[in-house]
């Protein structure tokens, strides 16, 4: 199970890296989103995927899955959600102000 998850995460990272290296700003944001999916799945996988009950005490199971990575993912998801929201608004504003979403045209410093 861990092996196939690792391959999937690898694929996600490949796609994310490819998208980040493109020129369109929106593709770059999609790329960061896909990478963060890969990251979250990676935490889950690295915590171990051994079968056990959901980490709820009322469930009468004897073994439980590791609850710590789930807490870490939950934290990482909301942080990433906030950053992505800011990033999207920023790119909207940049498009309004500078009139382009092409990273090539976002180069340089004003007074050089």
């Amino acid at each position: 199970m861990e092996t196939s998850m690792s391959i999937l995460i690898g694929v996600l990272f490949t796609i994310g890296t490819y998208l980040i290296l493109t020129k369109s700003l929106l593709r770059i944001i999609l790329g960061t989103s896909i990478i963060s999916h890969g990251v979250n799945l990676l935490i889950l996988t690295m915590g171990g995927l051994k079968s056990g009950g959901p980490p709820l005490l009322g469930q009468h199971d004897t073994t439980f899955t590791d609850s710590l990575p789930q807490a870490l993912i939950l934290t990482a998801i909301v942080i990433n959600f906030a950053v992505t929201a800011l990033f999207l608004v920023l790119s909207y504003r940049t498009y309004k102000t500078l009139g382009t979403d092409n990273m090539d045209q976002l180069r340089g410093i004003e007074d050089e």
Binding site: I20, L25, I28, T32, I35, S36, G38, V39, N40, L42, I43, M46, G47, G48, L68, P69, L72, T75, A76, I79, N80, A82, V83, L86, F87, L90, S91, R93, T94, T97, L98, L106, I109, E110, D111
Partner: protein, 494 residues
């Protein structure tokens, strides 16, 4: 008094929340921000004294025992960094009154600044690796806002690049934490150190060590990963630039110091050698940038990169002397970089340009500014009575003791070129024929000068009084050189 060490974190946090309610009333915002920042300086000073007298302070949040809950740890290194951070925060706030402009102040400038301080102090104080990630995100999120606030074209453009780089490095940080968790099964830093001690350094640990170096190198701006820094730090206004230059990169440097003296100490042949090579190239690249540009912002920005190289070279050598030197130089550099950014902020406010070729003869009209800048330049280069000297001497001594002649030699040579780059600003900008600049009469130079004068005075006293400060610094370096002190303080029963 057991909760004492959370106070420097809590005060700016509550202040930040409170300030949100007074968004449109700039005068109240200023007063609250300044008073709470000053109060925080006092608290941080008391914390340093407490750590000095009673040893490392730890706080198990919610009374969960050490490896299971989140532990906040205040050893001498983090206490000193917290004190430095609060001083820089206070001076940046009082500098902002006259320089940042009411428009920005109305749109949550002071709350964002306070949250930035929360993140920085939290990152210095935490004893949990994932909590360190969370505090990184707190400070980064605030820094995105501070960087883009105002919404000029250059700010929008550079913020996009800055966010992109930091989103990727945060993703790498979580990956590194996930790998480390799968190997050691714990997140508490002291407990990780114990587990790694049991495991010895296998190949996978070295890989994780390098991954952490990449992550914190991206935050801190070491050689192949510094590319985002010159552009991003160029965009914001002066007080924000001072906060970024003094604090943000130093959090990355602190994290490298922590992980490379606490976690990855069993196979230093590879990891620390790699760090050393990278830091030497960092120094060279920074120096090249510092002497290449004739733009005053760029010169100071590249001097940040040089200083990061020097500090981390001391860490990579790992002798007690060089670690002491690194801690000494780290605090010196935070203070003096903030002072320099605030000073060039005044220069840019007067002249309306950061191009050195368009500035001359400032010292005739503004002697106070000129001589403050001159002293700051000498402090930066490490001329003996001032504070850059002691740290660099110890780093170079450590380098020679462990026979790293090339590295130590480059650290020495870099001082000369740093002095050249900063004197270039002084000679071209302050000497020569005085000019008239548009709008210079509107700049309240005397009031703006208060903050950098405070910082320069502190750094002069820091150098002159190094005899008094030295016990604190060596206590900080002792924890770095001997991690068992840290582990015993956190995990009491181990």
């Amino acid at each position: 008094m057991i909760n004492f060490l959370i106070l420097p974190l809590l005060i700016p946090f509550l202040t930040g929340i409170l300030l949100i309610f007074f968004a449109k009333n700039v005068v109240i915002q200023r007063w609250i921000a300044a008073i709470s920042a000053l109060f925080n300086v006092v608290i941080a000073f008391l914390l340093v004294q407490k750590v000095r007298n009673d040893g490392i302070q730890t706080l198990d949040v919610s009374s969960w025992q050490a490896p299971f809950g989140i532990t906040l740890v205040s050893d001498m290194l983090s206490a000193l960094l917290v004190l430095t951070t609060t001083i820089i925060a206070f001076t940046s706030i009082i500098y902002s009154f006259r320089s940042i402009g009411v428009e920005r102040e109305k749109y949550f400038y002071y709350p964002a600044l306070n949250f930035l301080i929360v993140g920085v102090i939290g990152a210095f104080t935490t004893g949990d690796i994932f909590n360190l990630f969370v505090f990184f995100e707190v400070l980064l999120m605030a820094s995105y806002v501070l960087l883009v606030l105002g919404g000029t074209k250059i700010q929008l453009r550079e913020t996009i690049k800055y966010i992109l780089v930091n989103v990727i490095s945060s993703a790498l940080f979580v990956i590194a934490v996930a790998y480390l968790y799968s190997v050691v099964g714990t997140l508490n830093m002291a407990h990780i150190s114990v587990r790694l001690d049991d495991l010895g350094q296998s190949g996978i640990i070295t890989v994780i060590a390098v991954l952490f170096l990449i992550v914190f190198g991206l935050k801190g701006g070491i050689f192949p990963l510094y590319f985002w820094l010159p552009g991003s730090y160029y965009a914001p206004p002066a007080p924000v630039m001072a906060l970024f230059g003094a604090l943000l990169t130093k959090v990355g440097v602190y994290a490298i110091m922590r992980t490379y003296t606490l976690f990855f100490i069993h196979d230093t042949g590879y990891t620390h050698q790699l760090l050393m090579i990278l830091t030497i190239i960092t120094i060279v690249v920074g120096v090249i940038g510092a002497i290449a540009f004739s733009d005053i912002k760029k010169i100071i920005i590249y001097n940040i990169i040089v200083a990061i190289g020097v500090i981390l070279f001391g860490v990579s050598v790992m002798t007690p002397d060089s670690l002491t030197g690194s801690v000494f130089y780290l605090i010196h550099d935070m203070v003096i970089k903030a002072a320099l950014f605030l000073l060039i902020g005044i220069m840019i406010a007067i002249t309306g340009t950061s191009d050195l070729r368009k500035i001359s003869g400032l010292i005739r009209r503004y002697p106070g500014l000129g001589w403050t800048f001159f002293i700051a330049a000498l402090v930066l280069a490490g001329i003996p009575p001032f504070s850059g000297f002691v740290g660099k001497v110890l780093i170079v001594k450590g380098g020679f003791e462990s026979e790293q002649f090339w590295g130590a030699g480059i650290v020495l040579a870099s001082s000369l070129l740093v002095l050249f780059s900063i004197m270039k600003i002084f000679i071209n900008g302050f000497w020569g024929t005085p000019q008239d600049y548009k709008g210079e009469t509107n700049v309240p130079v005397r009031k703006l000068l208060i903050a950098p004068v405070i910082l320069v005075t502190i750094s002069v006293l820091y150098g002159v009084g190094s005899e008094i400060i030295f016990p604190y610094i060596s206590q900080a370096a002792e924890t770095l050189a001997n991690p068992s002190v840290y582990i015993e303080a956190v995990l009491k029963e181990w």
